[in-house]
């Protein structure tokens, strides 16, 4: 029952935080202490007993609420916990309203539950709970641009989840179950049935709206850019990763390899193109998140265990360094009074030292340089890709990532000067920074021993360095080339049309496969 307690504790504390007039932070600290204990117990059980399924009530897993305690779920629960701690420390001295604590606890509790669930309808309910809490958190400061971004997010998410519900209906009608393991057996028994294609297309479209896939998640750049820094960190580091986990689980049920490869390349390429062109740093990070989701999808679609595990590992690494980047960039943008890159460079002497150091750590992590988080995960992912074409395209994505981050180099200079940062924030940065720095040993939980031993070699080091150098060179070449990108695609109407077009694309790809 430990996973259920983990979720129920957060929900109970979220209700308590509304009822109490003060002591919200103490409650949040208590929540983290309880979480740490319960997650520790789950890790011990995973290593001693192995993966198991906890069912609530006297029913079977197929008809009841069940929590699957597996390595994937536990890894993402750990990510949620790490980001929750960092956000708590980041907002330690902010005067937050009680409902912010309610929403934060609900969001983290729902992410815990979603990491453990293998039931499609439970996933639907939890996705909606995450949508509602994060939608309210995006508009927390009640600025008009935030309210507009969160409204767009809500409309597009709700539309996507309706498509997901259609997928649930089709899957249940034909397979008679919503549990992913039982559904996988039904699909394996009759793999060429048209209902499988239809339900897979509907489910993938619905989840893709939540997971940050470019054609489907056009709400993401404005929501991530306009939200308060702590919320952006949670959205980019955690919320869209829940969609990624569900896509991973769906890719184990349905034959999605080609579909995920195509969606992955489209997402990675378009995300990078927009990230290279934008000069607003939070918007750039948001587009970069899209491009990295594409990178993950390529890993899921590559069809080997190493690539799939490496992609999951990279999802966790990305959650950590993108969370840190949004927190640090949020602080320096507040100090500079703007998130325009030129303005930030002008005011860089005002930035606290901790921010500069953490910006360096997060950028090294995202660029995939050893020994940081991105390197470990990228090396495992790329070791699992056997097709030369796919490998070349993945290398191109790595070069593009370096090109998009080359514009941050002026911000990273002179890390030793500047004022001191508030202590809780510095501790929060240090917490995530340490996770990025020591990710290589941490990721051994997810990566099986044989893959681990064959992955880390001199070639991986050289590839990582070459990608960064090439990326910087590409940025120098493109820096002064005048080209404009369409911005209207992010409006509600165009974004909805893109979701429908994306559904047709996914359905066609699945039917052709």
């Amino acid at each position: 029952m430990t996973p259920a307690y983990l979720v129920l504790c957060r929900i109970a504390l979220s209700v308590l935080s509304v009822l109490l007039r003060k002591g919200h932070r103490q409650l949040l600290v208590l929540a983290h202490l309880i979480d740490a204990g319960l997650i520790g117990m789950l890790f011990v059980r995973l290593y001693t007993v192995g993966e198991c399924e906890c069912v609530l009530g006297p029913w079977t897993a197929a008809t009841s609420i069940a929590f699957s305690v597996d390595r994937i779920g536990l890894t993402f629960v750990s990510l949620a916990f790490a980001l929750s701690v960092a956000v708590t420390l980041y907002t330690w001295r902010d005067a937050l309203k009680p409902y912010a604590f309610l929403l934060l606890n609900l969001l983290v509790g729902a992410c815990y539950a979603l990491s453990f669930t293998k039931d499609l309808f439970n996933a639907y309910v939890l996705f909606e709970l995450i949508t509602l809490s994060s939608f309210l958190l995006v508009g927390y400061d009640r600025k008009p641009c935030q309210i507009w971004a969160s409204l767009r997010y809500l409309i597009l998410s709700s539309f996507g989840m309706t498509i997901f519900l259609f997928g649930i209906a089709v899957a249940y009608y034909h397979a008679g179950t919503l549990h992913l393991d039982a559904l996988a057996s039904a699909v394996a028994a009759n793999p060429s049935s048209p209902w499988i294609t239809l339900s897979a297309a509907l489910l993938v479209t619905g989840v893709s709206v939540k997971a940050g896939v470019f054609v489907f998640s056009l709400w993401l750049p404005s929501a991530h850019a306009e939200a308060p820094p702590a919320v952006s960190a949670l959205l980019s580091g955690l919320v869209i990763k829940m969609g990624v986990v569900e896509l991973f689980r769906l890719s184990g049920v349905f034959p999605l390899e080609t579909t995920l490869l195509v969606l992955g390349f489209v997402t990675a390429f378009l995300g990078l193109v927009y990230a290279v062109r934008t000069k607003h740093i939070k918007r750039m990070l948001a587009f970069h998140t899209l491009s990295q989701i594409g990178y993950l999808l390529i890993g899921f679609g590559a069809g080997t265990e190493s690539a799939r595990v490496g992609a999951l590992d990279y999802a966790v690494a990305h959650g950590l360094f993108k969370g840190l980047l949004f927190l640090v960039v949020g602080e320096i943008a507040t100090l500079a009074g703007s998130d325009d890159l030129d303005q930030l460079v002008q005011h860089r002497d005002r930035f606290p030292r901790a921010c500069r150091w953490m910006l360096i750590v997060a950028c090294l992590g995202i660029l995939g340089l050893p020994p940081f988080a991105g390197f470990a995960a990228k090396a495992v992912l790329e070791a699992g890709i056997h097709s030369t074409l796919v490998h070349a395209l993945v290398a191109l994505v790595s070069v593009g990532t370096a090109a998009s981050f080359a514009k941050l180099v002026p911000l990273l200079s002179r890390p030793f000067g500047g004022p001191r940062c508030a202590v809780p924030r510095a501790v929060g940065y240090g917490w995530l920074g340490a996770a990025i720095l020591f990710f290589l040993p941490l990721s051994r939980l997810l990566v099986p021993q044989p893959i681990w031993l064959t992955t880390f070699n001199a070639l991986a080091f050289v590839e990582a360095l070459a990608a960064v150098l090439l990326g910087f060179a590409v940025y120098r070449l493109l820096q002064h080339v005048p080209w404009r990108l369409p911005r209207n695609i992010f409006r509600i109407e165009e974004a909805l049309t893109a979701v429908l077009a994306g559904f047709i694309l996914v359905w066609s790809l699945l039917a052709a496969a």
Partner: protein, 118 residues
């Protein structure tokens, strides 16, 4: 209701709702259209397993017919509550938008937001 009629109605509702979401330039009508889209999925979930001859899923000895599957009926209750919450919160946010920009036209709101950002 016959299952196939329910599915046809559900798909039609989804089409009408989606068209409303894409074509109408009024935020309140867009939210009403979103409500239609949400309802269409609920109707689809209920209709897929229903037949005109099936009995309600009640454990009453008087019913001798085959009962319809009760699980979709349990599922849609959650979906209805969620959709209600989404529409209610979205309407509150639309009210805030109208207070700020005095318009329900999403493209004008978009324009105003872009202007503010500059």
């Amino acid at each position: 209701m016959n299952g196939s009629i329910g599915i046809i109605v559900a798909i039609s509702l989804f089409g009408v709702g989606t068209l409303g979401l894409i074509l109408r330039r009024d935020l309140v009508i867009k939210l009403l259209a979103l409500g239609l889209v949400n309802t269409s999925a609920i109707l689809c979930l209920l209709s897929l397993d229903s037949q005109a001859t099936s009995a309600p899923p009640l454990l009453v000895p008087a019913y001798t017919q085959q009962m319809i599957d009760p699980l979709p009926q349990a599922l849609v209750l959650s979906a209805i509550v969620i959709n209600f919450a989404i529409l209610a919160l979205a309407l509150v946010f639309v009210m805030r938008i109208v207070e700020q920009y005095h318009t329900l036209d999403p493209q004008r709101v978009e324009h105003e937001v872009e202007e503010e950002r500059r």
